[in-house]
């Protein structure tokens, strides 16, 4: 009985550390000291190391949980019937995870390789749904015939540019995606639609 109670307590502490780290990393970036996370989570500094022996372990676990959660949301993209609806949903999912995703793209080079590959997995899920619909719409003659990776990277590049430079595009504490999603989407669609060719 006692050991079960201890087990539950241990699980709760782990959960608390992960939730707090997620919030702190989203706010301040990945270089925050573990002692700050411990203090915010209300646990001893030592107990972080019981669960995550190194900072890398904590980062890998956090990014991978984030990848799973975002992956579930991205599955909604599979249900979309046009590239415009798919991209609108992509922006909705990114907006939902905006703060952490911003840290992920701006500090990717600080992360251990295992966490970097989680980022690629997230992008590959988007690319999978994107390419399915894009290639279908190209066949139908709705979209210009351009290489899939160039269309995908143009979209990601555009969205990431606005996110990475949010301080120029939006006010502090304003969601840059919320503000620009309509504009980004309609202009990207104009770029790739065949009808808009002069």
């Amino acid at each position: 009985m006692k050991s079960l109670k201890r087990q539950i307590q241990k699980e709760n502490t782990r959960k608390k550390i992960i939730e707090t780290a997620y919030r702190i990393f989203s706010e301040k970036g990945f270089s925050v000291a573990t002692s700050v996370i411990a203090k915010e989570a209300g646990v001893s500094h030592g107990s972080i190391f019981v669960h995550f022996p190194t900072l890398n372990d904590l980062l890998v676990c956090l990014v991978s949980e984030f990848g799973d959660k975002m992956g579930e949301s991205l599955h909604l993209l599979a249900k979309k019937d046009s590239i415009e609806n798919l991209l609108a949903e992509h922006l909705n999912v990114l907006e939902e995870y905006e703060a952490f995703y911003f840290r992920l793209i701006s500090e990717i080079n600080l992360l251990p390789n295992e966490a970097k590959s989680t980022f690629v997995i997230i992008q590959s899920k988007v690319a999978f749904h994107f390419s399915n619909i894009m290639e279908r719409e190209i066949k139908k003659g709705v979209i210009k015939k351009l290489p899939t990776h160039m269309m995908f990277n143009t979209w990601i590049g555009l969205v990431h540019y606005y996110m990475l430079n949010k301080e120029f595009f939006s006010r502090p504490n304003e969601s840059v995606l919320h503000r620009y999603k309509g504009e980004l989407l309609s202009n990207y669609m104009n770029l790739i639609n065949r009808e808009s060719e002069v």
């Binding site: 992956g71 579930e72 599955h75 390789n113 295992e114 590959s117 690629v120 997995i121 992008q123 590959s124 690319a127 999978f128 994107f130 390419s131 290489p147 899939t148 990776h149 160039m150 995908f152 990277n153």
Partner: protein, 81 residues
């Protein structure tokens, strides 16, 4: 709802399953034409091609990424031990 053991895709409708057979543990994208699951090598090659075609990565990098994706999936874990 099952998750494909070979690529991690959630399988919601019957058409997501290999050979339209919901008793299988892998999806239509991880099956060969005859409905059997692709081998480790086949799946890896297909993943590399997919990453290069849709994201334009360098082939060697794409190969590393394909491996790190596969490492996490039940069907391929044993190949990395």
């Amino acid at each position: 709802m099952k998750i494909c053991i070979a690529c991690g895709m959630p399988m919601e409708s019957i058409s997501d399953y290999a050979a339209n057979d919901p008793s299988r543990d892998y999806c239509i994208h991880c099956a060969r034409h005859d409905g059997e699951m692709q081998s480790f090598q086949e799946k890896k090659e297909n993943l590399v091609k997919f990453i290069v075609r849709t994201q334009g990565f360098d082939e060697k990098v794409a190969e590393k990424m394909a491996e790190s994706m596969m490492r996490k999936l039940p069907a391929w874990k044993a190949f990395f031990e």
